[in-house]
């Protein structure tokens, strides 16, 4: 199944001290993303399939097997979506 991910418009985000911090506009919960999670979040354009993002933003930059990276990315995307900071869809997400 092809999946697409997009950054939620209802969040505040900024990189500070090398760390990406994101605050949910829905419930004010605060997240700090590590380097790989930040790469995924920043590449979440709603148009590129998740597998393509993993290839381009994760596997090309970090020493990780593609299958493992894709499984981790899917789990992370679901987790971030639960907190309302990422949108996950089976179709491209219009911006």
């Amino acid at each position: 199944m092809t999946r697409y991910i997009a950054r939620s418009p209802d969040v505040a985000a900024r990189t500070i001290g090398g760390e990406l911090m994101i605050m949910s506009g829905r419930d004010s919960s605060l997240f700090s993303l590590n380097e790989t999670a930040a790469a995924l979040w920043e590449a979440a354009d709603g148009a590129t399939p998740l597998a393509g993002i993993v290839d381009r933003a994760i596997c090309a930059r970090f020493d990780v097997a593609r299958e493992e990276a894709l499984a981790d990315a899917e789990a992370l995307a679901e987790d971030l979506a639960r907190h309302g900071i990422l949108v996950v869809s089976e179709a491209p997400i219009p911006r």
Partner: protein, 266 residues
């Protein structure tokens, strides 16, 4: 024919004046006492509220305060009060019992809403002015805010032992005194001073000051900023205000022994 509003109280905190009108003489007396040192009769009002004083609700639920925007109006509610504010006209209505705690909470919220628009915030923190510079000490309840305020050296002005009022102005960040007191149970000094730095409080076996990485400083500040509204736009502004402050002001950790020697390392 409309009723004559007999009392007109103007409470000015952080340079912002809130006018409260009420027909209740008892409530007017409560305001005078609660906000002593911060009342400025005749001052031009930034916000105006008509306060309707009602009997206390015996069944008032002990619920968390709720702040949300509905059809362009801010609505603010807790078991003991209900308020509506039109941000365009800066006028509103409050319905509450004659309680200092209700109006105290409401004023804090109005200030948080206004400050967020200009990059400022209210912070759970004590602040003290020495030699014309403010030091802000933030921490959760029990971290030592009131203790540090009580230990302030002679000649220092305690702006607050509970809620620090931080504004971003043309020359940088400024702390203002507030009437929002903690265990000291008295209003702070009604003065302002540029902020020298923010300290994250923790108690320990000896006094020391340590640098804090920016992400940890941001997390601490965001955790201690007074913030009530269920509103994504406001969340973004508060988030930006906190991170701007971290990028502009020194944020350090103060580990301290609760005696007067702590002021020697500051």
């Amino acid at each position: 024919m409309s009723a004559v509003l007999a009392h007109d109280a103007r409470v000015r905190v952080g340079g912002m004046c809130v006018r409260l009108t009420t027909t209740s003489t008892r409530f007017a007396g409560i305001l005078e006492q609660r906000f002593a040192g911060f009342m400025e009769p005749g001052r031009e009002a930034d916000y105006t509220f008509e306060v309707e004083v009602v009997d206390p609700r015996p069944d008032a639920p002990d619920a968390d305060v709720r702040v949300w925007r509905e059809e362009g109006l801010w609505r603010i509610e807790r078991g003991d009060f209900r308020a509506v504010l039109d941000p365009r006209t800066r006028r509103g209505r409050i319905r509450q019992a004659a309680s200092p705690y209700s109006i105290d909470t409401l004023l804090r919220i109005v200030h948080t809403l206004s400050l967020a628009d200009e990059g400022g915030f209210l912070l759970h923190a004590a602040s003290v002015v020495r030699a014309g510079r403010a030091q802000v000490f933030t921490g959760v309840s029990g971290a030592g805010k009131t203790t540090l305020s009580r230990l302030a050296p002679p000649g220092a002005d305690v702006l607050t032992d509970e809620i620090s009022y931080i504004r971003r102005e043309a020359g940088g960040y400024v702390a203002y005194g507030t009437p929002f007191a903690g265990e000291l149970a008295r209003p702070g000094a009604n003065v302002r001073a540029p902020i020298e730095g923010i300290y994250l409080l923790s108690k320990g076996p000896r006094n020391r000051v340590d640098e804090v990485a920016a992400p940890a400083a941001a997390r601490a500040l965001l955790g201690n900023i007074l913030f009530f509204a269920e509103d994504p736009a406001l969340v973004r502004r508060v988030f930006a205000a906190a991170l701007d402050a971290v990028e502009s002001l020194p944020v350090r950790r103060l580990t301290f022994v609760p005696d007067a020697s702590v002021w020697e390392v500051l």
